[in-house]
Assembly symmetry: C2
Homo-oligomer: 185 residues x 2
């Protein structure tokens, strides 16, 4: 109760950011939930942005772990890529914080939140890239620059999973697999 102040603040902020988004979360309410005074938050974090950043970093670490867990040492390249993409998309769709940020960006369109989401995208792309590089080190020939390949695969996957379904029937999994495979070759 008396210890763990910083952790309580993080906990409270994480809940609030996930529930209400960035803008609608106030430092006063975080303080109240964490049962500390507002000033105390500022002994641990410089600003609302810094506090948020800490939570986003945790979330991204979780995402990386989910993606990591989906990989299998001996599975073929394209299967691993797809398993990872599945894990990432699944995470994106189920994590309250990311969902809320997405809504916030659409509804309020604030430059601040938009930039955060760009940052998230960047982290995801970097992770995909690192997986590609690791796989390519195993000997598979590199048709494209890993940065470009990561970009291409991720964008296509998002398009096929999310955007396509806005106006069509969902695609069968085999079709998606085949398309991703053809991009790796």
């Amino acid at each position: 109760m008396i210890i763990d102040k910083k952790e309580r603040i993080i906990e409270a902020a994480a809940t609030s950011f996930s529930q209400f988004g960035f803008k609608a979360t106030t430092m006063a309410s975080v303080a109240k939930i964490a049962k500390v005074a507002k000033g105390t938050i500022y002994t641990f974090f410089d600003s609302k942005e810094t506090l948020f950043s800490t939570i986003l970093d945790r979330t991204m670490k979780n995402l990386r772990q989910s993606a990591e867990a989906a990989l299998q040492e001996d599975a073929p390249f394209h299967e691993n890529i797809q398993a990872m993409l599945d894990a990432i998309l699944n995470f994106r769709e189920n994590h309250q914080l990311l969902i809320k940020l997405g809504q916030e960006a659409k509804e309020l369109g604030t430059a601040e939140v938009l930039e955060i989401l760009t940052q998230v995208e960047r982290m995801i792309l970097d992770y995909i890239k690192s997986v590609i590089e690791k796989e390519q080190a195993k000997g598979i020939s590199a048709k494209h620059d890993p940065e470009l390949l990561a970009f291409l695969i991720y964008r296509t996957y998002i398009a096929l999973i999310s955007d396509w379904e806005r106006q069509h029937e969902p695609l069968p999994k085999e079709t998606i697999t085949e398309i991703i495979k053809s991009q790796i070759h």
Copy 2:
């Protein structure tokens, strides 16, 4: 001067929509530029939307013509597809009306304008699809449903041309060609 009233209205509206966007164009100003009374516009068009629709239809017709002109009867499939995509992208980037609508959607985010842009996308996709179908009728085997292939190619092209360049050096044309080609196979 006395004749051509309808044409003058269309002309004036096209200029105004291109210059100021949908929302910022007023029927009063269109009337003034066209040198007719406001009521006169309503003898030719039911509403602002209808007037706008007429202009959008013209623009889309122009786009189709540009795309059509890029096609060559005897060129290989992938070259034609890319020439057409080039024409479409070039058109999109150079036509004041579409540029302005894009800005408007970003800045004001009105549902109205967003819907219009979806409609434009739909028309472009339909056109790409029709070209694919025509080419496939010539005997090239169909790996995917033309609707899906059109969607995939268009999205990839946009991603490579526009989105990639937001954070990277532009890609050499051959790289883009190669990627598009690999999607058709």
